[in-house]
Symmetry: C2
Subunit: 219 residues, 2 copies
DNA sequence: AAGTAAACTTACTAAATAGTAACTTTACTG
DNA sequence: CAGTAAAGTTACTATTTAGTAAGTTTACTT
């Protein structure tokens, strides 16, 4: 309402608007089915502007990928950095993740659900972005469990296993969240921690689950 | 070597070969980037045959989706059906899942990593296929936990939460498996059960994880 | 060994769309 | 109030690729 006909937007602002639009369209259609024309239209400009500012469709996608990865990792780190124990850091980090995904659903789709159909250059950058997220979680898992058990340290392989399981669970749980809009990110985190935390300790303590011993360890 | 120039294959056989090829190409390139020409060439025939037998690109993709979903669900059910307790059924089911994914990696990519970029018709079928898999796991989770705790029953919402977390974890763990080829499906299942099973019981028993109580319940 | 139906091909059309060349318009500066 | 650089446009090309029409070849029957 402040300015209905605000043409002539300065470049840095326009670039972000283009990326905003691109994220929506990429998420909705997928990389190939997304047309640069549609992105340009949603951004309120014509196609050549997109090419002038972002070089190519691939460059545009990479810009989206970079910006959103940065935002997600920043949110995760900011949240985890505030907490005082490793366990609380994992909680805060998961919380930040669910909050981010709730508020930027399209971003997450772009970041995570475009595994195939991409050029090698994009695939490489994608893998790296994924590794960055995974490394955050793996770090917390490793530190958290080591702390709880008094010094024993998960080796990188096991921490990585845990991180993959956690990120995967969190990812798919975003589908569940869509059908349960009443569920807050905080409650999502609690539920997931409930499911996973005790088990994570078990893995480390050698308290192995074995088929057939159902119910003998608990309650 | 049995027959170097085996032209003129009967239709049912050729159809399966086309679907085989399509799965590889769809998994490698994604739905849109995959060209019917490439699929035809990989199948050892020319493009019009694909259209004659499978109607359209969409029909071809749906055929892939249906056949592989059927196979996965069948493998899961067969494995789970053999076991005698709900807990063992979940174990067997997970085991079957990891085995399937190991042996048919491309199928899993097609089934699971093509969320966007699809026509409404395909998206609908995809969602249904996903629900079928999810329902298997949710059923086992519900039954398994109810059994262990002596009759208390997870409501559908919670069983669904658990199922989403499990399927999501298993999905992303396939990435981890790729970098750990020495890890058998059986060991994957054990690790995941270790991480998750005790926690699942906790969720149900109201043994709530709360921030700050780290390490008070365990060893 | 014809006859025939199923298996298969070549060679096209039509549409979509990434990317560009050549231009026009606005806002700001001296 | 010119001059100019940044912001923006229209109108094209070149390529890719889903889908088809019209024809050819092989295997199997009688």
């Amino acid at each position: 309402m402040s300015d209905t006909r605000r043409r002539r937007v300065p470049r840095p602002v326009r670039e972000q608007q283009i990326i905003d639009a691109a994220i929506q369209v990429f998420a909705k259609r997928g990389y190939h089915a997304a047309s640069v024309d549609e992105i340009a239209e949603l951004a309120g400009i014509s196609k050549p502007m997109v090419y002038l500012y972002l070089d190519s469709k691939e460059g545009l996608f990479l810009a989206c990928l970079r910006r959103e990865t940065e935002r997600l990792v920043a949110a995760f780190q900011a949240a985890a950095g505030e907490a005082h124990s490793p366990e609380l850091r994992l909680q805060s980090g998961l919380d930040a993740f669910f909050t981010f995904v709730t508020e930027h659903r399209a971003s997450w789709v772009v970041l995570h659900r475009q595994a195939s159909e991409l050029s090698p250059a994009i695939a490489a950058e994608m893998a790296q972005a994924r590794r960055a997220v995974m490394e955050q979680v793996a770090g917390l898992a490793r530190a958290g469990i080591a702390d709880n058990t008094g010094g024993t340290r998960l080796d990188d392989e096991e921490a990585d296993f845990v991180a993959h399981a956690l990120v995967g669970a969190a990812d798919t749980l975003t589908d569940w969240m869509e059908r349960h809009p009443e569920e807050s990110p905080e409650r999502m985190t609690l539920r997931l921690m409930n499911m996973v935390w005790v088990g994570m300790r078990n893995v480390l303590e050698g308290e192995v689950w074995t088929p057939g011993e159902a119910g003998t360890t608990g309650g």
